[in-house]
Chain length 308, copies 2
C-alpha cells in the first residue's frame, strides 16, 4: 500500500546560514546539498540572491546555483526579495525561485524598504520576466513572511495574508508559501489561516515555513497537515537560531520534521542515518553555531520503522 | 465570555527530581510548590512514596507532603508504585494519590519486579484501603506508564492499555493518567489511543503525561486535547532530561505547555512572569541540570495576551 507523500524541503543553506557569521565555502555548501539529496531530500533552498554587502554569506550565490543545477540529484530553489534577484536566479537557470515579501507592513519596510503592496506589484514583473524567458519554465513560489504576527508590528491582519495569497495566485505563482518568520504562530491560528489560504488558492499547492522559536513548530506542522499542506521548509539541526540566545528563531529541524511526518504515516523519502551523519558534518563546519532538534540526541524510537 | 479550562499540573518536584543527583532540601521543595501555586498552578505532584534507598531524593516524602498539605494554596498529589507507598501517602493525608504501573510487561518487571497484572490487582487493595479510611476521601489516579511504547519491550499493545484503563475505572480510580514515559508517542497514536481511553472510561476524566524526548511533546498535547483530554503533567523548564544527553527524556516544559494551551484559547490560570522567575530560582538551586523549553529563552510573543 503506497503512503501519501509529504515533503521536507531543506532550507538550511539559505535560511540556516543567513545569520551565521562564518562563511561556508561554495564546495561545503554544495557538499551539504549533495549529501542531503543522498539522504532523500528532494528540494533544497540553496541560496538567496541578495546583494553581497547585505548578506556576505550569499556572495557565492551564482556559483552555488550553477553547482546545484549541475548536480541533478535534487531540485534547487533560490530565494529572491526583488526583481534584480529574480533576474540573477533566472540567468543561472535555478528551476525554483521563491519570491518573498512580508505581510507585516512594518517588517517589509524594514526588510526591503518598500511597502507590502509595492513588493506584491513587483511580483507581476517577475512573472512576466519568467514568461518571456525561453527554455524550461521556472517554478515561481510566492512566500508570505510574518503571516502569523510580527516582532515589529505585532498583529498581522489575516485578511491581508489571504489577499496576498489570492493576488500571488492571480499573478501566476505556482505555489504559495506561508511563513511564520518570527515563531509567533500557534496550532489554532495555523489551522485557521492555512485552511483559508488553501481554499483561496486551490488547486495551487501551499507550503509552510515554520520556526520553532516558542516550541510550537512541530505542533504547527500537524495543524498545517490538517489544513491540507504537504510541504514544509526545515533546516538541518534547526540551524538559524540558538537554543540559548534570547529571541533566537531557528527553523524547525529537518530531521525532527521528517520523523514527525513519517510517524504520522507520510512518506518523506528521507533516510535518517545519512541525514544525521550530514548533521554531524555541519556541526564540524560550524563550531560556533548551536544545533537543536531532538532526534539527533535521542535517536529514533526502538519501535520506529519505515512503513514501506 | 469564559474560556474552557485546561490544567497544567506541575510534576517537577516528583518526575523532574527523580533522576537529579543533588538533593533539594525539604524547604526548597516546598518553596517550589508555594511559588508554583502563586503562579497559578493548581495541582502539584510533590513527591513519590518509594523506599529512600531506591530514590534518595524522596527520603523526605513525609515532610514534603505534610508541608504541602498544610500550605492549602494548591492540591498536592503523590506518586505511589505499590500498596506500602499508598499507605504512607494516606497516612499523611495527601488528597491526590497517583498509582503507577507500566503497560509494558518488561518495563513493569524492571521497575517494580511484578507483572503488570500483579500491579493492577494491587490497585484493588489500595482502593479498599482508601474506602475504609475516615475523613476526606482520597482522589485516586490510575497511571498507565509506557502506554505508547517501551525502550525495553518495544511495542506495547494498545488493547492492553485500554484494558488497564477499563479495569482501573472498574476498581474505583477517579482519573486515568496515560503516560508516554519514554517519549515514543506521536500525535496520530496519541489521538487514537486517547480517544479510545476517553470513550472507554467516560465520564471519568483522563489526563496525559508526555515527555519531549523526540520533540513531539507539544504536538502530542494538541492531539490529546482533540481527544478530549484537559489535564497535562509537565515540569518547569522540562526538568528531568538533558537536551545534550543521549536518550534524555525530560517532561514537557510547564511554561511551554501553558503557553500552548493559552494560545489555543484555554484558561490555564497560569501567570508567566512569576512562573519564569521560579524557573530562574530552580536553575540556581540545580546548577548541574539542563533546563529546556522555549518560552524562557524567547519570551512570549508581542501579540500574546491573556484572553480574560
Amino acid at each position: 500500500m503506497s503512503r501519501e507523500q509529504a515533503k521536507v524541503r531543506e532550507v538550511g543553506p539559505r535560511d540556516g546560514l543567513q545569520m551565521v557569521q562564518r562563511i561556508l565555502s561554495t564546495e561545503q555548501k554544495l557538499d551539504w546539498c549533495r549529501k542531503a539529496a543522498e539522504a532523500g531530500i528532494a528540494e533544497i533552498e540553496i541560496t538567496s540572491f541578495v546583494p553581497p554587502q547585505v548578506v556576505p554569506q550569499f556572495a557565492d550565490a551564482v556559483d552555488v546555483a550553477l553547482g546545484a543545477v549541475a548536480m541533478g540529484s535534487f531540485t534547487p530553489a533560490a530565494l529572491v526579495p526583488n526583481q534584480k534577484g529574480a533576474e540573477r536566479a533566472f540567468d543561472v537557470g535555478v528551476p525554483v525561485v521563491n519570491y518573498v515579501l512580508s505581510a507585516s507592513e512594518a517588517h517589509n519596510l524594514a526588510n526591503v524598504r518598500r511597502t507590502t503592496e509595492e513588493s506584491l506589484s513587483a511580483f507581476g514583473a517577475i512573472v512576466a520576466m519568467r514568461d518571456r524567458a525561453e527554455g524550461v519554465r521556472t517554478h515561481l513560489g510566492g512566500c508570505i513572511a510574518t503571516a502569523f504576527g510580527c516582532t515589529i508590528q505585532g498583529d498581522v491582519p489575516e485578511a491581508g495574508v489571504l489577499e496576498i495569497a489570492r493576488r500571488y495566485a492571480e499573478m501566476g505563482a505556482d505555489e504559495i508559501i506561508v511563513a511564520d518568520t518570527v515563531g509567533y504562530g500557534d496550532p489554532k491560528q495555523v489551522r485557521r489561516i492555512l485552511s483559508a489560504v488553501v481554499a483561496e488558492v486551490a488547486p495551487l499547492p501551499v507550503a509552510c515555513h515554520f520556526h520553532d522559536t516558542r516550541g510550537l513548530g512541530l505542533a504547527n506542522v500537524v495543524a498545517a497537515l490538517e489544513a491540507g499542506v504537504r510541504a514544509f521548509d526545515a533546516s538541518l539541526g534547526g540551524l538559524g537560531g540558538c537554543p540559548f540566545a534570547p529571541g533566537a528563531s531557528g527553523n524547525i529541524a529537518t530531521e525532527d520534521t521528517a520523523f514527525l511526518l513519517e510517524s504520522l504515516g507520510f512518506d518523506t523519502g528521507v533516510r535518517f542515518e545519512p541525514l544525521l551523519a550530514l548533521r554531524q558534518q555541519l556541526e564540524i563546519w560550524l563550531p560556533e553555531e548551536c544545533f537543536g532538534g531532538a532526534i539527533a540526541r535521542a535517536g529514533l524510537p526502538k519501535t520506529f520503522e519505515y512503513q514501506r
